[in-house]
Symmetry: none
Subunit: 189 residues, 4 copies
DNA sequence: TATGAATGAGGCTTCATTCAT
DNA sequence: AATGAATGAAGCCTCATTCAT
């Protein structure tokens, strides 16, 4: 009896999704350096399955955050349309980015760690988020709302760093400091 | 025959200094989580010597940065006297802090890591750098040069985070972003 | 294609048994404090395998002796049935216990060491051997063959201690002293 | 000015005594395997001083217990004179030996451990205590009060083992079991 | 494909012992 | 004779990674 085409693939896809969900949760709890075994246990799979799907830790980290990064990227053009001014759009977009980062504690630290294994995640950001941010910055520049010399990559990296929270520097502090940084980016009239 | 006073102490002190130098260098290369053995090898001592002098890793990290932190702390009142305005003093002091941080890559990451073992270093900063910074901020506030709601601890933590450098976000970028953050802290006339 | 059920479990079980055999042998040679690595080498496995199967040293020690302890426990009621008098049964049972102990040098020393990590083994004895011994003592008491004040736990501990052998105090000496102790336990007519 | 003869030696002797006192106390707390450094700290001397006076751990252990062993040895002939019967003398002497052992927790375990480094202590016992005990046993045998086959060394070793106390087998239990063992040694009339 | 047992490198820490002063 | 800083071997334990089933 021939098995229906794609059943196997569907199952494999479900396994993959389960791993990603588990990894996401474990990263929040323990950071991106969490033991692979912990993720496997949370996902209810063997460690071999994780290695099959994500040969390196960086592959896993990247996959975990890819969807949210894509969502964030897609937000930029929409905000630009909807907002009263380009700088307002930039501010709102930064809010969304911060929202993303502060709920994924491990991510900011990971991005800031310089870990060479995370180059793929780095590349993902360069490829998607940075251009999105650049669009916003260009619009601000066109509207004469931006101090000179601010580049998308540097700004995003700075925002990312400001989102590394801890016991005495929480989400509110991060939001406050990002808002302050953006205020400093605004060209004085 | 009395042995020359302090000969052994002097030798021990030299050993201790050598360990601190080695640790400082290794921290720059590998971060504060570097294996103790690597530090011992760089210092040319056995691991036992490191454990004797610095029972915990946090003790070592703290000792490595204590001197520079103290220097930075002492700078604040001097700048306040010498500078044309309190905000200028704050800016210069931030420059010095950044200078310190970006040459000690490991430190910023350590401060941002939330590692519970580094509470001593954290406490050291709270006890010395934060009050120094608070003095500057108070002066700025008295001169009506500061946006409301900026606290010394949060600002320092933010500056610290902005100084977590990497391949595509270097010292110049950190300085730029810190300057931008401070610009955002300045009350608009 | 379903993999033959239990093939891997069987292999794992064999590994586990091999570890237990190796541990048993190493304990005789070196005592229960022997390095884990030595046991791993004797078993032909990596240290990780031992830690996987027996997370703590006490787990390993307990497992090593559990089977023999159970055997010894099961012997008590049988001897009570078969023997001419309860005291004879007690004597025979003590012989079996001694037989067990003197061939497992490490065990007696372990029981006498007060090592807090060996509470599990201690508990195992309390839970199984002591009740078995108590049955025999009760029968002796009922037959008026026992001096008053002898409790199962104390007696077993004493027997255990008497079985700590060494170069000049061997198995025969232990048997002799245990027999002498039991003679002292017998109520004088 | 010539220093009075013997001042140095007297000082050295005082150092030695201090080390022995400290070691005795530490052995009670931690057993005879206590770190040398702990003993040095308790004695207020450097570890080198301990190594100078007692090159091996066994030397130290032996020295610590020598005095008490000698006292115990000297007791035997006195008890033999004073007591109504040789067996009474033996019983009393055993009481004294138990008293010594149960207050020196580490010792019994040490004697039973088979540690080859403790051969000196072992030898000390063979050389002094065993002959003393043998005198008592001989007297008992002459008075027809002793079961045949009981040798001094084996009996002492057995008593020593019975004195290995722990949480659920205390001094009273040890005394009880030693008394029971001796009862078993008594020739039935 | 999925599994998870097994491996063993690698980091941590303690402490016996040496030796220059 | 006394000191105690320094050494480094030795044990512990974790976890990334492989591979037979």
């Amino acid at each position: 009896m021939p098995e229906p085409v794609g059943v196997r693939q569907a199952q494999a896809q479900r396994t993959r999704s389960g791993v990603l969900s588990a990894a996401s949760a474990v990263f929040v709890d323990q950071g991106v350096q969490a033991p692979i075994r912990d993720i496997a246990e949370r996902a209810g799979v063997g460690v071999g399955t994780i290695y099959r799907n994500f040969p390196t830790r960086a592959d896993l980290v990247t996959a975990v955050y890819r969807h949210q990064i894509d969502t964030c990227t897609a937000l930029a053009p929409r905000l630009l349309e909807e907002s009263a001014s380009p700088f307002t759009a930039l501010t709102r977009w930064a809010d969304a980015f911060v929202e993303f980062l502060v709920t994924k504690h491990g991510l900011s630290a990971a991005l800031g760690s310089g870990d060479p294994g995370l180059e793929k995640l780095h590349a993902l950001m360069l490829d998607t988020l940075v251009p999105a941010c650049a669009t916003l910055l260009d619009a601000c520049a066109d509207a004469d709302e931006l101090s000179p010399g601010i580049t998308a990559y540097t700004l995003m990296r700075a925002i990312g760093n400001l989102c590394i929270t801890g016991p005495d520097y929480d989400r509110d502090d991060a939001e406050h400091m990002v808002a302050t940084l953006l205020a400093g980016c605004r060209r004085e009239a």
